[in-house]
């Protein structure tokens, strides 16, 4: 879907980014993560031609970015920024309708789409006729996402979208984004400096440092096999093991046993959730049940420990 080929960016004679080569497959939720100044935002903005590279090419859907007119390119890509960037002088519904209006959809189609998006992004319909400053930060960000989805682009770029929100709202919106990604299969490229957010959301994680890619892989792989000390520290060092448990399911380690534990855990719960349940209940063994409630087997704490050590 997106290809970076030896892309470089210079600033005041210095090379601040690159040479960068990266391939983001269609349908991925790719998270560009790294400390401030590592070039992740710059990389993101080269995808929709907000920033032009000084060397190399970027291809979107197979065509070089330079081949499109910038406006045509951008209207086909959703864009969400940290502060939302909602237009303060337009009502919420008009904000959401921005790109459809640029694409000259007719008004009935736009109105229908706005209502549809309000559903998808879980926006209270009464808010549609309000102005952005009348809404909370979380609601504004939700609208920002809805706005990015309005013209149904297959690619969405997000630049630290949840950075300015409180942890509760942030967690809720992260979950919704995941759900959205699963339901629609759109390609999402997201920039964040928060590794935990990256691990929670991403199907593909690109760790960047000082304008170069330190490691690019799946979350589990990065956690289990960090390619250098920087990545290991950035990923959370000692916590990596625990975080890795997020990526395995109980169903993977369930086995049969004669024991009958007092508490149960769903088969598609993560190992971490199972461990947490064990600690909460003060037991070391749990039943595993499926969605209908049928007991499939048991899981022991030893199985969880050995699973975390694997690959």
């Amino acid at each position: 879907m997106i290809d970076f080929d030896a892309v470089e960016k210079h600033y005041a004679g210095q090379r601040v980014l690159g040479p960068l080569s990266l391939s983001i497959p269609q349908g991925a939720l790719c998270v560009l993560v790294g400390p401030s100044g590592c070039g992740k935002s710059t990389t993101l903005k080269m995808i929709n031609a907000l920033i032009a590279p000084d060397a190399g090419t970027i291809r979107v859907r197979g065509r070089a970015v330079g081949d499109f007119s910038p406006e045509e390119l951008r209207r086909g890509i959703g864009y969400v920024i940290q502060s939302g960037g909602l237009f303060p002088h337009w009502r919420v519904r008009d904000n959401i309708a921005t790109v459809p209006r640029l694409l000259r959809w007719d008004e009935t189609r736009i109105a229908a789409r706005v209502n549809e998006l309000a559903d998808i992004a879980e926006i209270d319909p009464t808010l549609l006729d309000r102005f952005p400053h009348q809404l909370s930060g979380g609601q504004q960000q939700r609208i920002g996402v809805a706005r990015a989805l309005a013209a149904d682009p297959d690619l969405i770029l997000m630049d630290e979208p949840f950075g300015a929100l409180d942890p509760v709202t942030r967690a809720a919106l992260q979950q919704e984004l995941s759900r959205l990604h699963r339901d629609t299969g759109k390609t999402i490229v997201l920039v964040t400096h928060d590794m935990d957010e990256a691990l929670a959301l991403g199907t593909m994680i690109v760790v960047m440092r000082k304008g170069e890619i330190a490691q690019s892989s799946t979350p589990a792989d990065i956690l289990a096999h960090p390619s250098n000390d920087f990545v290991r520290d950035f990923v959370g060092g000692a916590d990596a093991t625990i975080k890795l448990l997020e990526f395995r399911r109980v169903g993977d380690v369930v086995r049969q046993d004669a024991e009958t534990p007092a508490f149960a855990v769903p088969e598609n719960a993560t190992l971490r959730a199972a461990l947490t349940k064990m600690m909460e209940t003060g037991t070391t063994i749990l039943n595993v049940r499926n969605d209908e409630g049928k007991i499939l087997g048991i899981v022991r704490i030893e199985d969880i420990v050995s699973a975390s050590k694997q690959s």
Binding site: L50, R75, I81, G85, F87, P88, T98, L102, R147
Partner: protein
């Protein structure tokens, strides 16, 4: 006495001023009413007048006026905000109406058929009291609804106009001067408004390229603002005078120019000077407005695929609109005052009466020029404020 009860006693004696503005207004008003002349009676148009203080008027008139002043003073101490506002308004409006009626009636009383040249003018006490009354009304309307804020002053102005129209003020010198000029007053007023309107229109047109250059081309910005600042410092009379020569030349060389009225004298140099002065407030506020569009809003607009032109028309301009209107307000009010000087170079307008009055040392004739100018400026300002308030309450 124990320290506790001493403190209590002191606290009880301390008088609390609830509204400092009302207090600050009431004191000079009372001082003016006692010491300054309310009316001035002169044997003819040129000679000095004998002052007549408020307390030297008829018993009823003095009583009403002083009563209202005491009411105004008392209002400063009322703690309850609603009652204070109401009292303040009553005192202020009452004062305005009372002094108008009193001045008119007393002037009638002092007319003498044996001295037809006698002139009765309004004295400094009148002006101070009318200023205090207006300010008190304005202060009392601070926390009321928007409709009340517009209707109340309008009602007062209507009342004053009704009093003037009824002939109650005809004995005053000011009214007599106005009557003497009534043949040309309407046309000069129209001419004044026309000068300002045309100048503002032209200034807006000129301001567009200047603003765009200042905002979007950094190297032009310094030059533009330095020039405009410099222009602003030129005394208006000098600028009007300086424009006569080149425009005479233009009018002489280009017959078409002469036909449409561009010569060395008259409206053309006046309008050009007014345009030049109006440019700085217009360009400065437009520049500030456009530069203060939040950067993240612009970035998001750009990222969503708006062309630069679309960003300008759909994002920058609407968000800069309050600043633009603000600059327009300043430029208009400024031009209304400056246009008075235009009379010196044959452009007409309300300045005609001002300079005539100065020449003949007839200060009431000067007022025939200045009071309408002030009224025009205040009305224009109020109109723009209403527009601005509506703009801001939309989002």
């Amino acid at each position: 006495m124990s320290t506790a009860s001493l403190a209590d006693a002191r606290r009880g004696l301390r008088i609390h001023v609830a509204d400092r503005v009302a207090f600050a207004l009431a004191l000079p008003a009372i001082a003016a009413a006692i010491f300054a002349g309310f009316l001035s009676i002169a044997p003819n148009r040129l000679a000095d007048g004998r002052p007549l203080a408020l307390w030297q008027l008829g018993a009823l008139d003095s009583a009403i006026a002083f009563g209202l002043l005491i009411l105004l003073f008392a209002a400063a101490f009322i703690r309850d905000e609603t009652w204070r506002s109401k009292l303040l308004f009553v005192a202020g409006a009452g004062l305005l109406i009372a002094i108008l009626l009193t001045a008119g009636a007393t002037a009638y009383g002092h007319l003498d058929p044996r001295e037809p040249a006698r002139r009765i003018s309004l004295g400094s006490a009148f002006w101070i009291l009318s200023a205090v009354g207006s300010l008190a009304c304005f202060q009392s309307l601070q926390r009321v609804s928007r409709t009340a804020k517009i209707l109340a002053p309008l009602a007062l102005a209507a009342a004053a106009a009704a009093i003037a129209a009824s002939g109650a003020l005809d004995a005053l010198s000011l009214t007599r001067e106005f009557h003497a000029q009534r043949a040309t007053f309407a046309s000069e007023l129209a001419r004044h408004v026309g000068l300002v309107a045309f100048a503002i229109l032209l200034a807006c047109l000129c301001a567009v390229p200047l603003t765009l250059a200042a905002v979007y081309r950094e190297n032009a910005r310094a030059t533009i603002f330095t020039t405009l600042n410099l222009l602003q410092t030129i005394p208006s009379i000098a600028l009007f005078g300086v424009l006569i020569a080149p425009l005479s030349f233009l009018g002489a060389q280009v017959p078409l120019a002469n036909k449409i009225g561009i010569g060395g004298i008259g409206a053309a140099p006046a309008i050009i000077a007014l345009v030049l002065y109006a440019l700085l407030p217009l360009v400065r506020s437009a520049d500030a407005g456009l530069r203060n569009v939040p950067a993240d809003v612009r970035e998001s607009a750009r990222g969503m695929g708006m062309t630069p032109r679309q960003i300008f028309w759909r994002v920058d301009l609407p968000l800069a609109l309050p600043a633009l209107i603000s600059g327009l307000r300043v430029a208009t009010v400024q031009s209304i005052g400056l246009a008075v000087v235009a009379a010196l170079i044959g452009a007409g307008g309300l300045g005609t009466f001002v300079f005539q009055g100065i020449g003949e040392y007839a200060l009431d004739l000067v007022l025939v020029g200045t009071l309408p100018t002030i009224a025009l400026a205040v009305s224009a300002d109020a109109l723009f404020q209403i527009v601005l308030a509506n703009l801001r309450c939309r989002p």
